[in-house]
Symmetry: C2
Subunit: 492 residues, 2 copies
Amino acid sequence: VNNQSSLPLLHALQQCVARDHAPFYTPGHKRGRGSPDPLIGLLGSQVLRADLTELPDLDTLFAPTAAIQAAQALAAAAFGSDRTWFLVNGSTCGVMAAILATCAPGEKVILPRNCHQSAISGLILSGAMPVFVDPEYDANLDRVDGIPPAAIAAALQHNPDASAVLLVSPTYEGVCSDVGAIATLCHQQGIPLLVDEAHGAHFAFHPQLPTPALAAGADLAVQSTHKTLAAMTQAAMLHLQGNRVDPERIHKALTLVQSSSPSFVLLASLDAARWQMATQGQALLDHTLTLAERARSQLAQIPSLAVLSPAQARTPGFVALDPTRLTVTVSGLGIDGFTVDELLRQQGGVTAELPALQHLTFILSLGNTEADVERLLAAFRALPDQLAGQPESPPPPATWQCDVASRSSPPVLSPREAFFTPVTVVPVETAIARISAELVCPYPPGIPVLMPGEVVTEAAIAHLQRVLAAGGMLTGCADATLKTVRVVDNQP
Amino acid sequence: VNNQSSLPLLHALQQCVARDHAPFYTPGHKRGRGSPDPLIGLLGSQVLRADLTELPDLDTLFAPTAAIQAAQALAAAAFGSDRTWFLVNGSTCGVMAAILATCAPGEKVILPRNCHQSAISGLILSGAMPVFVDPEYDANLDRVDGIPPAAIAAALQHNPDASAVLLVSPTYEGVCSDVGAIATLCHQQGIPLLVDEAHGAHFAFHPQLPTPALAAGADLAVQSTHKTLAAMTQAAMLHLQGNRVDPERIHKALTLVQSSSPSFVLLASLDAARWQMATQGQALLDHTLTLAERARSQLAQIPSLAVLSPAQARTPGFVALDPTRLTVTVSGLGIDGFTVDELLRQQGGVTAELPALQHLTFILSLGNTEADVERLLAAFRALPDQLAGQPESPPPPATWQCDVASRSSPPVLSPREAFFTPVTVVPVETAIARISAELVCPYPPGIPVLMPGEVVTEAAIAHLQRVLAAGGMLTGCADATLKTVRVVDNQP
């Protein structure tokens, strides 16, 4: 029964909370009665009464037959999947399970070179071999976008034995790839398209938002229900449709990567987030879209600022923009995004999601108010005065893009082999021609130049040193100064 | 600075909550302002205000330099480790990380055949090869205890190339193995002892409790801080000492198995649980021990009941008992533990942690009160009347123990290989001599007879059918009736 106004899991938990009984089970605080005062002071006592795990009256996450099963079925209907799993270890565990369920050791998966860490973790745990494709990069605005279908087509052509394609869509900035075209390419080759849709859990609930991955034809989508909807942090969902991915394998993989003591507080928040969207989603998103539109148009009127807009979505790797994301380019102010982030936070009382060298990204959602937007606008309007007298940052170089030819190549070890192989730390000048044991990712543009298992080239090191010299930074590696590199220890 | 009365992480979160600012980051509910009413009704609004993830003012779980680092250092001092990691994916992820960090693919790990599912998951993800040892089994009382040091010594002698030993101590029933003797055996062979101490997080805080694994010489201990202390469900810790396990490998492994959006509600609860134990632990445990002692002695006076007591700890696989656990044998009532569990819950308002065929286990902790114990006693005293007129369950067989020789053997595939290999479902009579693709565990005694990757024997099937016929049950397998078995698909 698809009664979207019911809350089966939340109500089952509520009944457990209300039932008078003596608790001789975990957790140790026993419905908050043993909780320390400072924790009660921070969280309140109500949540502690509800902090329960798999009791006879509740259900079990790995073999649901009651409230969890009902809540997952309602979520499947609301989000447009054939089957949905609730996750308590974030989209991280969903992306890992998607790879574990579709790629046996040694099998190939096609994925963006700038995929999330969870996809690399999935490669390490599964033993799958990555075939990396490059995302589009807008060098003028220093923004990494989606994957053009042509890049997937080429990768599929060169790798007819690939087992799956994994996309990230939307990006942090709300940029969407052409999921429909890519799904068609995958299905022509008989393989599934898996989408890391962590930032797109709200797409299904308003016609002005980009098409959700499942509606576009993806076989599987992982969504951080906590990122844009009302679930609690760490609570996420995995959605499946069609028969290209075996639900039994998803189930088995999910039992590997999640706690056997799942928090029913997190699980109930997924039920509540689904209920909220199914019953009031469009109205709530109307409000968010109105706020976002006002913020976008007002920010664009502030001199020296530019805001990414849906009208800019017209390249093969950028077919739609989530209008609830605001990406504000600040390089026109003569200052970098990290400095702006500090000023907004310290002076303006505004906290962004993601600062970068040339821009900052802000997430608007159902929890934001007009007052938030006023504060955002006021903080940006005050910037020029706050910057008066400050030295200008040097203008960023025209492009940070690493020529593919200068990247470390080719892979010698799978990410899994590189993970388990002993490593050694060597001075950067002696790292050339050795196998990298670490990921080295320059910002900008946030596309890794070295991946574990790849051979370090002179051109790759030269590029990384240029990024550092120009004021960029390196992430993912143990030594962010690049004086040393961790390589595979190939001494006997 | 080891100021155990400070709460660095909880206070950092509190300051974030108190800071007036406009939130343009995840989670989508934005400090609870967009949370659905039913969720606020269940949990209160305070916890939602504190539901934050890695903000500039907070710290990052995978590279802590501020509040998390300080909180983990205090926990290390309080729990007696050299280094402690906070976990948001339960002891599950700690046990998996312990195996991933110490066993490369194909390497051997010695562990109990009845280890927790998380250890099997660790084998699957790492590709390590298990060397199973059998726990002690008390057939009269149908209780699986710990691992005798002699069993570890024999396994080490036959497997001098093993990379690690993993113990589970205490068991669910609070039974402790001789961790000190086993640590000595491991260290003589130069390998680490890893302890799944999920149920023993409280041991370090009272002299009347069993010796904690680290104090007994273990190299690593994983504790469910939520099970016996005041952390919230899913929040756990991994403790490390000495130099037999590389902390860098633990760190890398933990980043694979945990969300990149960790809940600071869960993390703050770990800080609070440490603070509570460090500042008031002995007094709180004095009270719990007094309650447990009263419950134990009173229950023992009820006709037909027997309660496991610390004095019974005198076999090589049972050297100490956690006195805060009550394991009550009910077979003297002529009825099984599952029926008693139902009666206690429905009629007595008492919920146990773990019912079994012949007994039930109850967890007492700092959250329990005298009223709870009174209720427990009253519920048990009322049982004989409630049972009057009910048919007696048939007396359980004298022993459920599976002769080792009749078990499925030998392993042909590693658990990892069996996980990734295609499976097929066959009628039980044709499963013999094929490779099992699933774990089949009879209760009692809760020691798996079939493991994925082992060859199915006629004796194993016969034993499992005897268990079913005698009223026991099978867990872990897809078909609990044993009409079919999942085996590796070795058809071409």
